[in-house]
Each structure stands twice: as C-alpha cells, then as structure tokens.
Amino acid sequence: MNAMAEAPALELKGITKRYDAQTVVDRVDLRVHRNATVALVGESGSGKTTTGLMALRLIEPSDGRILLGGEDVTKLSQKDLRPFRRRMQVVFQDSYASLDPMMTLGEIIAEPLSIHGIGTRDERGDEARRWLSKVGLDGSYATRYPHELSGGQRQRVSVARALILGPSVLVADEPTSALDVSVKAQIVNLLQDLQADMGLSMLFISHDLSVVRSLADEVVVMLRGRVVERGPTERIFTHAHHPYTRSLLDAVPVIDPKARRRRSFLSAAEISAATPRLRPADIEPQPLVDTADPQLVALAGSHFVEAIVSERG
C-alpha cells in the first residue's frame, strides 16, 4: 500500500472558525478512515454543523487544514475544488428544504451527474431511477415532486442524490433528527447498507446518541467549539470521562421506567467547574505542558478527554 491509499478519507487538522471575536470552532482535529463512521455529537451551537460545512468547504475555515484522501483541499479555488466535490457529499436534516420543490425527484437525483457532465440525458435518467430503487423507492417516483413524499422518503431521495456521484466521504448533518423512530431506523439501515456497498466514509453529525451508538465507530464530543472527548463508540458509551459527555448520555431517553436514570444536564458553568483534573500519571505518555488551560489528553485505548493536567491533580 502506498501512502495515498492509507491516508484517511477525510482529515481535519486544527480546523478553526472565527466570526469577528467569537471562535465558533476551535482547533478541531478529525480523522475519518475509509469505510468508517465518525459521529460528531454535541448540543446545538456546539459548532458541529460548522465543522461539517467546513469539511465540505461550504464555509471557509479561519485556520487549519482539510485533507481529502490525503490531498490538501483547504486553499483550492472553487474551480479547482470541483473534481474533489464529486468525492464529498452531504445530507441535511430538513428533507423538504433540501430538495428543490420545482423539480421532479428524477431531475433532483440526476442533477449532480449533469453538473459534472456525466452521461447523456437519458443515461442520467436511467441512473436516477436505478438509485431510486437502490434507496428503496419505486422507479415511478422519478416523475413525482418532493411535496408528494413523506419525510423518510424525501430523506431517501437526499441520500440517493448524495451518493449518485460515488463519493468517498458523506457528511450527514442530523439526517434522522426530523424523522419518526421507525423511519429513523430505516434511514440508518439504508446508510449502513450503502456504506458497506460503497466503502463510504461518513461524518455523522447528530445529537441523537441512540443512532450514534448503532452507526458510529468513533464518537467525537464537541462543546462550545472544542472537542472535549473522543474515543471508540463503545468506550465512550461505557467509560465516558468528561462530565459533559456523561450529561449527554444521561439525556438519552430510556423506555423502561425502572431503568430511567436521573437526568443530570449540566450548565456551562457547571461543566467548566467540572472539567476533569488529571495527573500526568493518569494519562498516556505524550509531550504535555503543565498548564491551567484544559487540553485534550489521551487515556487508555485511543480515548481522549479534555482535562486540566497538573502535578497537583
């Protein structure tokens, strides 16, 4: 294997977005390997959507780098970026507003092909119908309009449109948040199936931890623009270290009333006060600075948490 093949499908290095004096996303590192799913979780306003949009170069980062399959696309002009656009796609939460209401579903799904000048009109139409059936909709839907579909069906159309170009990276920004529970499961299954088929890498942005648990390989928790904890999904769900992560987990609804946990959602001040304090001995050895500012430090098994590290503990 050469170096290119080993490079993660998507990598963000120290990506930062500042609006005037406010830092919305603060030095976030992310790595999505081929065929893997990374979940970006956090409350609204935590900067997770901005991070996703920066990965797609739909918002220009103030700082940091974006690598797509090992190639730096941070500074490419929109024109030079076009070939890369085929490799990264997006699905949004609002399935209705994501589809041009004036176009038929066939036109919507085929449009990416025509944007990139692929195939003849007829071939594009055939491909669109093929993708309709791939996402579980009848080919006859090609002549229908978005308003004739349910939310789940529309989200399938969004998925088909995103994947018709055969991208390597899919940014899914809360794709299931507006859907019913049963429909949600269908969309999650669809994404999993297609991911396995296509070797897709996914950046899955969500605050829905039950979906994250079934879909993601790695979980990255964001709070006010910063990564406060990251780690393999199961480890995060069983050994969350940061109080904010724990309060997110506590907020997941539990159906069994006997098992219902005490809700302990923390305020910003409480979280700051509760930032974990670790001694150097608690963490994996790596060059660290003894500082009063919180920093992301490694615990066991590629599990990282933002903590204040000092000898005083």
Partner: protein
C-alpha cells in the same frame, strides 16, 4: 383545474354584483344630483324633466335593475358630463394615455426592481444592498405626487432635459412613466430581495454548492425559478392598479387619462360614468387575480398536482 376555474368565475360574478350594488348605493347616497350645479342653476321644472328623461325619478331598485340590464347588454349609457358620446367611447379614448404611461411604468419599473432586489440579495449587507433597500423604502413611502413634483423640479425645471407635462409626443412621456415606475420598482425590489434570500438560505442551495454547481447557475437555474412565483403573481394586479391611471400623476403632468374622471364623475354625480369606471376596475382586478391564481397553480407543482400533500 377546470372546477377551480368555474368556481372562481362564479365567485367573481358574485363579487361583481356585490360591488355594483354597493357602489350604486354609495353613489346615490351622496346628497345632490347631476343637475344641482351652482354655476348654472336650472329651473326646477327643467330639472325635473331631465331627471324623468334619465329615469332618475324612479325608485332606486328600479334604477339599479335598469342599469344592470344595460350592463348586461354592454350598454353603459351616456356620461352626463359629456352627453355627445357614450360611456364606453369616453373610457376607450381616455384610457389610452393611462394605459400607455402606467403600463410602460410597470413594464419598466418591475424589471428594474427585480434586478435591484437580486443584486441586493446576492451582495447582502454590501453598499448595493443598502442602496437598494433605501430606494425601495423611498419608492414605497414617498407619495407619488411628491415624486412627480420632484421629477418635474429636477428634470424639467433645473436640468431642462424633458418637458414638464406628459402627453403628446413620446418625449413628454418620460417623467410620468418615471413617476408610475417608482412603486412597481420599489415593490419588486423588496419582493425579489426577500424571495431570493429566502431561497438562497434553503439547504438545497447548499447541497447544490456542495455538488460543485457554480454560483451563477445556482441563481439562474434554481433560485430564480423558486423565487419567481410570488413575483409573477403580483404582476397583473399591480399592472391593473397602475395602468388605470393615477389621479395625482395625471393631474400633475396634465395627462388626459382615466384617473381624472374618477374624481370628476363623483363631483358631478355622473352616475353612469362612475359606475362604469368602478365596475371596470373591479372586473379587471377580479380577472387579474383569477389569472394570477391560475398562473400560480400552473407554476407551482405543489398545487398543480391537486395538492396531494402527505
């Protein structure tokens, strides 16, 4: 669709009848009659004969039915203030200047406004956005008689570029057309800006950017199409409103148009002319709204397919 058009046509007829009754009653409830002028008082017996000749001595309901029977046969009678011609003839020749000046005003103002609004939406919060918003606000808030007077002052009196009054050779049309264009331009600038911004902020536009579609194509292939519907549907009512002449513009620019007759026919209790004018306007508005609604349905797939919303 057909049943929609039939239903709308029936409701249009109902509107027409209600409007005709209301206007008829209002006209006749104004004290005085057509022959009560102070400049040339008529002897009572002559006045009574004239009233009898015109059927004005009959009970109101009979007058109304007679009038509507005439309307039904497209006979709108003779204007009292100009007995040498028919109401239809008077409207036909008086409408030409209003239609030409007002119509051109809309046809010029609306596209200018759309361009202005588009530029403002695409360069949001830039100087062009502020200029466009200022123009739109001024156009809608400054009364047309102030705009007309300012136009005359600047272009006719100070700069001496154009004549100050507005009918005759086309050079004279410029200022009244400009005065008429202000409201459509301002209205369209506001509509275009908000409709464009609304569409530009939709996720599907972000998806198109993510697909690599150029900004220019996004605007022309998707955003314009989605923003066009409200702009198309306000066009006809606006056209009717302006192309029937403004009392102020026609008075200030001394245009022999329809606008002045709205006032004079009330002043002179010229029942047949006032009725005809009001009925004409209401019919035109009804038709323009009907056509707008049909257009809206044809342009909008959500309605076109019978609203099968789930």
């Amino acid at each position: 669709m057909l049943s929609f058009i039939i239903r709308r046509t029936l409701s249009m007829l109902a509107t027409f009848i209600v409007v005709s009754i209301v206007i008829f009653l209002m006209m006749h409830s104004i004290p005085g009659g057509p022959f009560d002028g102070y400049d040339m008082p008529l002897p009572d017996n002559i006045k009574a004969r004239l009233m009898a000749d015109l059927g004005l001595d009959k009970p109101l309901w009979e007058q109304y039915l007679r009038y509507m029977w005439g309307v039904f046969r497209l006979d709108f009678g003779v204007p009292y203030q100009s007995p040498g011609e028919t109401v239809m003839g008077l409207i036909a020749h008086a409408w030409v200047p209003s239609l030409v000046l007002g119509g051109l005003g809309v046809l010029i103002g609306a596209p200018l406004g759309i361009l202005l609004g588009m530029a403002a939406a695409l360069k949001r919060n830039s100087w062009i956005d502020y200029v466009a918003s200022t123009i739109a606000t001024l156009g809608l808030t400054i009364p047309v008689f102030v705009i007309s007077t300012l136009l005359i002052l600047v272009f006719a009196v100070w700069l001496k570029w154009t004549p100050a009054s507005g009918w005759g050779e086309p050079r004279r049309w410029i200022l009244p057309i400009a005065a008429y264009a202000a409201v459509p331009m301002a209205t369209y600038a506001r509509y275009a800006r908000s409709a464009m911004l609304d569409t530009l902020n939709k996720p599907f536009v972000t998806v198109l950017r993510a697909k690599g579609l150029s900004e220019r194509r996004i605007v022309f292939q998707h955003v314009l199409r989605n923003s066009a519907i409200p702009m198309i549907t306000i066009f006809l009512p606006m056209f009717v409103g302006i192309a029937t002449g403004s009392i102020f513009v026609e008075k200030i620019f001394r245009v022999p148009g329809l606008g002045a007759y709205f006032v004079s026919s009330i002043e002179k209790r010229d029942y047949p002319l006032e009725m005809a004018l009001m009925l004409l306007i209401s019919a035109l508005f009804c038709i323009s709204y009907l056509v707008s609604d049909i257009l809206y349905a044809l342009l909008n797939p959500r309605i076109r397919l019978g609203g099968k919303d789930q």
